[in-house]
Subunit: 287 residues, 2 copies
């Protein structure tokens, strides 16, 4: 916590302002949480942070209005406020990394959910029969098909099933298996014409299109945004997602919904947390 | 349109008030539409209503502030405002009829969507491989599994596949096929212990639980409400849906989200449209 506060002080210094110039603070964390309460509950990968009242600590340290948010929601708000969605009234962000994070913004409002579980869209069921197992322990979730871990697993499965020659096999000979850090290699192999890699990437685009269409038929946002490490591969992958969305969605949202890449990279969460702080300040100055 | 206006006049008379006492009017219609524009676009089953500016006509006729809404959204707002959700801050309503209608309310706000296609959750993909064909022409949608039409089709398929003895076969001998109007008979057979009917109903409960969980992991509302003709079968069916939801959802929403039946029956849409009229009036009296 002291380190978090030190980061706040350094950010203020780097911005060449003083703490007195800061109207509000926004902080975003991963894992299960109580958003309105400002408390981290049981973040899976951060066991020491169980039941930590993050917002209260920071608010007490700096004596500033402080807002607390889920990191995926904050990233979506960042893109909405200052990134690719700054002209949109609503957007859904899928962050494609180890898992699939999601944030939903409608009219400057973050869909946090009644129990701080809004926008866990990586865990929507898209396959009921023989669904792939998700890291959360349930089968058939979007994340079990289209996250970096899922792509690595699907690649290992495809090579084990021996679906013809592939330049990906040399990797296997060297390392024994694909893991989540090897996704760019798989995308690169697809671009260079490898048939197996191409099939894996095409299926990934289809799975993400299913996720996008499910949100288009639920939230029907102005814009569906894809962010995270996976988008480094370039626009050709986005084009493939778009192609499937056009085929799968209702005609009006298929024609009108913008499908774009995120612009803020890994800053989206910081920017969005700051934006949430600004939103808090604007609300309190209104009333 | 004249008939719609006559219904308004009769409702006013039955309520023993005068038109002067009416502050605003709410009207809700089915089909594709431009909600903010107040125009029906291409309602599938009402070809004569193409591009009809319903709101303008009613507003001009009565010279009252008039709000226009999708009928499924209005039904959800009705349950939110005056039905089973009157103490909830957010809810999702699934209306189980010929198709599956859906409406989403978050903090007194209807998720209409950027292109008036919000809450078309009957058309979310829940099965990618060999998905059943939906009436909309796309495979794998929730509606293709759990609407009344879908249940009748699945029953016909199961009987054709000859999965053992069933009292449902006598129906086939009489009429040749099950259609959407026969759902209560299938539910009744399940209650009376027929194994095949029981399997069909159990699967239906599972499919609806998948739909509910997908919305719980997206909107995470206080409450998921099931309405429409299918709920006439009684609470035992709701219990089955709940059982699957408890198993499939994340622990916190599984424990905290209320799963309930709607209370307003087929009045939900009228009540909700009126509630939207009230909302319009409150907004305009605020600013």
């Amino acid at each position: 916590m002291a380190q978090m506060c030190e980061s706040v002080r350094r950010a203020v210094a780097v911005a060449k302002v003083r703490l007195d110039d800061i109207a509000a603070i926004g902080v975003a964390t991963p894992g299960t949480m109580d958003i309105p309460g400002g408390v981290m509950l049981e973040p899976v990968n951060m066991p020491l942070w169980k039941n930590v009242p993050v917002r209260q600590y920071i608010a007490d340290t700096f004596r500033k209005p402080t807002v607390f948010q889920n990191d995926a929601n904050a990233a979506a708000y960042g893109e909405f406020w200052a990134g690719v969605g700054r002209d949109a009234r609503s957007l859904v962000l899928f962050t494609l990394g180890t898992g699939i994070g999601c944030g939903i913004i409608v009219n400057d409002f973050i869909i946090e959910g009644a129990h701080s579980h809004g926008a866990e869209c990586g865990h929507m069921v898209i396959e009921m029969t023989n669904g792939r197992m998700c890291g959360c322990g349930q089968p058939g979730h979007l994340e079990a098909y289209a996250s970096a871990i899922a792509i690595a697993k699907r690649t290992n499965d495809a090579l084990a099933a021996d679906l013809g020659p592939s330049i990906l096999r040399t990797h296997l000979l060297q390392t024994g298996t694909f893991d989540e850090s090897d996704c760019q290699e798989i995308f690169q192999a697809a671009r260079s014409g490898d048939a197996l890699a191409n099939r894996l990437v095409e299926e990934t685009a289809y799975y993400l299109a299913v996720g996008a269409v499910n949100l288009m038929h639920t939230i029907n946002p102005d814009m569906v945004v894809f962010g995270g490490g996976m988008i480094a591969t370039g626009d050709w992958f986005l084009e493939r997602i778009r192609k499937h969305v056009k085929r799968l969605a209702f005609p009006v949202p298929a024609a009108k919904t913008l499908l774009v890449y995120a612009q803020l990279g890994s800053d989206a969460g910081f920017v969005g947390a700051a934006g949430c702080g600004r939103q808090l300040w604007m609300k309190s100055n209104k009333s």
